[in-house]
Symmetry: C2
Subunit: 394 residues, 2 copies
Amino acid sequence: MTEVISKKIADYMKKGSWIRRMFEEGDQLKAKFGKDNVFDFSLGNPMGEPPETFKNAIREALDDPTPGQHGYMPNAGYPHVRARLAEVLSRDHGVALKGSDLIMTVGAAGAMNVALKALLNPGETVIIFAPYFVEYVFYADNAGGQARVVETDARFNLDAAALEAAMDSSVRALIINTPNNPTGRVYSEATLKEVGRLVDRKAREYGHPIYILSDEPYKRIAYDVEPPSLFHISKNTLVCTSYSKELVIPGERLGYIAVNPECEHKATLLNAMTFCNRILGFVNAPALMQRALYLDPDDRVSIDGYRRNRELFLNELTGMGYEIVPPEGAFYLFPKSPVPDEVAFVDELKKENILVVPGRGFGRAGYFRISYCVTPQIIERSLPGFKRAIDRVK
Amino acid sequence: MTEVISKKIADYMKKGSWIRRMFEEGDQLKAKFGKDNVFDFSLGNPMGEPPETFKNAIREALDDPTPGQHGYMPNAGYPHVRARLAEVLSRDHGVALKGSDLIMTVGAAGAMNVALKALLNPGETVIIFAPYFVEYVFYADNAGGQARVVETDARFNLDAAALEAAMDSSVRALIINTPNNPTGRVYSEATLKEVGRLVDRKAREYGHPIYILSDEPYKRIAYDVEPPSLFHISKNTLVCTSYSKELVIPGERLGYIAVNPECEHKATLLNAMTFCNRILGFVNAPALMQRALYLDPDDRVSIDGYRRNRELFLNELTGMGYEIVPPEGAFYLFPKSPVPDEVAFVDELKKENILVVPGRGFGRAGYFRISYCVTPQIIERSLPGFKRAIDRVK
């Protein structure tokens, strides 16, 4: 091929995204067998609809006669929205955040790109934990740095020894995602505090701060556990997250960065991230969505449907012989593949018109991800296929 | 200072943005003298309000009972929105665009970052024309490339000879901004065609395509001239633009990339840009805004207010002895500074509580930018100050 596009991008695209690949194969299956006869567990598109109060908040914002409401605002977002959100987050996290500690962003993806761009020099390192959301690798690269993968243990818990072995002075940031995509694991407070102590110790050793970016869009989607606040594991924690899941608005691109009030070099960092929000082309989080948030920041969708799906799927699949570490949050199962090559098993499931994502798409082969953002009926109807597939290979 | 943030970002911030600096000094002046006694011509925040039909389109979209309307859609945007927009653009540009030739983006800034990320290899070059919108320099750098500045002539017209002298095989793209910020210049069809021929000839010589990115948010803000479509100057033109100005929604972050239907390697490029929309963290243009656009894509705000402001300001300032190339579009004047050091003259204006931006903020010293997105009353009341300032230095 003639050199048309960036070599790096061409290479990335060739390696491709497993989620995207499954999505496309799903479309082909649906065209062939009919939409109702394909069981698509590949996408993490949250269930349900935004709360009606949220939609009403948008309607109210639209009716507000104050001029200039769709215009530019400070790149960090509306001061009154940030002040209101700071109150909510102070309560939720047990810290004393001010509006000036927050930057409104274009989703969690925007938040993380902004934070990494502000932090990284060429070739510097961002630690990520496998299994991981594959986009992290791109985000580190976008900022001129690189992701370094640290394995979690067999139950997908953080492993402080593995982390320590991976640390060196090029590390500027870690990304911690709890509740985790794809495993559903909620890291325990004890584990997180151990990680926090280790990171702070290494930062002192290297003579520069190491920031912990907490990607926590599933924070309010947890079952029987309360995800600990990462603000309490290191003063250098930045919450980089999104309203996509809790308000069911992933298409609207609304998130924020909240900087620990005790963070080192806080003002410098906030200024740099606000600047990066601008120069990366995000400029600001969508205006109307910010204002809707101000009007009703604490009304969230129910997780009852996810809870029922999780129970149903977990019980049924475990009964068939699938090995699954029970997820404590998010809306995914991450079963072990009954055969070592999970891509082969994903193909077995495909014969049953069942779509899931191979674990290697998340940096852990031998597993696969099921997203249960579907109706219970779809789960029920898919079960015989899951049974036949495991029976064929066992 | 301890090394906290990226050295490059720290350096960028130190150099700073003149627009931002004026904005901050303006805030100080306003605090001191009262908001009504400061004449702020520093910001290009478009005048007026979005058309009521646009707001109604948002209301209708909110009332649409179809499930999942705030969820993920393809990264390129809603197919039905792109199809509708393709019809409008086909009419406006006199080309036959399909929906699949379009990618919805987070504003023009998102569009350009996506296009450059898809195109540039490390160190490759993007040509920009001075005076220019300063963010272009960052956008080229974000993608690992670099901006190379080509001067326009004394009347701010493109200069094909200067462009030819600046070309080499590292050039992958040009950014052309017409109507221009900060000069208001609308490039003529003849000049643009000369540039198009030159670029296509150089592309053949170098053996790879060179793409023209048309940043045209002011396309519908033109006085007595019709800005030519850049699709007709090269088959390798990508319109990368925004609805910020014509719908008065700069805070909502809605734009698009439209690829010339005849573009070389069109499918490869569109795939790569859609991928980059995802990995850069934009993911997709805000869902609700896309849908509002679908419902009423052709209703735009009136430019009568801008036209009146332009006449008033241009006549009055010219009468006082300011030298100004009459702008044909956008909402800026770019007068020559009456003294060679325009920063010194900007300070003279500041003594009159008048805020404008020095030309060096746009890569051309010796001039300054006036944004006339204000009421005629503010212009009227500022005139004695403009008079006193020029009289003091003449």
